[in-house]
């Protein structure tokens, strides 16, 4: 019985904060609401007997990914910038379409996905997950490590202000030594700016 109380309490929290995420005008509030929603989902993972993934959810999602979001929002100063209102047609179609989709999903789940639970308990501790991961999924695991490396390189490349190719200034410096002195004076004036 206490399980149901916990489930419905945290389900309500997850849904309420998710609604705040999509309705609030300030992106900082949206991001923090999403963190709260993820914490409630971590409680769901504990209820599903997978405490390892609950820890992962809190550390990776709420801890790392959402902090990245908050950094970007604050870096770009987006909380000051007002968002233009959506066109009414788009607003209506968005709400109506997602409501229809939601009603269809709820209908089919409550009609077809009512399953009897098995009696034996489900054990998914870190040990069992690790054994499964490194016995059957070692190749995808390595592929994911390469993917993360590619994401790091891509993020660095995209977020740098310009494409780091040989710049026009460097070419001119090689061709005309007299220009190089002028450029050096220009750059020494911009103290603290590292980028060309």
């Amino acid at each position: 019985m206490i399980e149901y109380v916990i489930f419905f309490f945290f389900a309500a929290i997850a849904v309420l904060f998710a609604i705040v995420v999509i309705l609030h005008r300030n992106p900082v509030v949206s991001a923090l609401s999403l963190v709260a929603s993820f914490f409630a989902l971590a409680v769901m993972y504990v209820l599903l007997d997978v405490p390892f993934l609950a820890a992962l959810q809190v550390i990776v999602y709420a801890g790392a990914i959402m902090v990245l979001f908050l950094f970007v929002i604050m870096l770009l100063n987006l909380q000051r910038q007002g968002e233009e209102p959506t066109r009414p047609v788009q607003q209506f179609l968005g709400y109506a379409g997602s409501a229809a989709f939601g009603i269809a999903l709820v209908y089919y789940i409550s009609k077809y996905a009512v399953l009897a639970l098995p009696n034996t308990p489900f054990t998914a501790d870190a040990r069992a997950i690790g054994i499964t991961l490194f016995e059957g999924y070692i190749f995808p695991f390595e592929i994911v490590s390469i993917l993360l490396l590619a994401a790091i390189v891509g993020a660095l490349f995209l977020s740098s202000r310009g494409v780091p190719l040989p710049t026009h200034d460097e070419q001119r410096r090689e061709e005309h030594p007299s220009v190089a002195e002028g450029l050096a004076q220009q750059q020494s004036g911009n103290t603290g700016v590292v980028r060309p």
Binding site: Y4, F7, A11, A14, V15, A18, V21, I22, P27, S30, L34, S37, L41, M44, Y45, L48, V50, L53, L56, V60, Y61, A64, I65, L68, F69, V72, L76, L78, E83, E84, T86, Q90, Q91, G94, Y95, S98, G102, L105, V106, S110, V114, L115, P118, T120, F122, A124, A128, I129, T132, L133, G136, Y137, V144, L147, A151, I152, G154, L158, S159, R161
Partner: protein, 100 residues
């Protein structure tokens, strides 16, 4: 033990909220957060079925989805920073050209 369909219903509701956010918002980062919400709803479904069928493969899948969501967040936010440097806004309606 809570039946699986309750978790599936919660997951469906969260997914629909995410869809609604993607369809109605114009701020790129809010759209991105809605996508993260949808990813988490799918994760919940995976784990609910993993417990239902006593298979650890669903849990492993969620593990990989989390890794890919981290990569996606890094690259996506870098794209928004780049877009902001070019346009001084991250309104997705403004970003309608592939190259400027």
């Amino acid at each position: 033990m809570i039946p699986t369909q309750w978790f599936l219903l919660l997951s469906a509701i969260l997914f629909v909220i995410g869809v609604c956010g993607v369809l109605t918002r114009k701020n790129g980062i809010t759209i991105f957060m809605s996508i993260e919400l949808m990813v988490n709803a799918v994760n919940l479904t995976f784990i609910a079925y993993a417990r239902q069928f006593h298979q650890l493969h669903g849990v492993i899948f969620v593990f990989f989805i989390m890794a890919i969501a981290a990569a996606e967040a890094a690259v996506g936010l870098a794209i928004f920073i780049s877009l902001f440097h070019h346009r001084q806004t991250i309104d997705v309606d403004e970003a309608n050209l592939m190259r400027w």
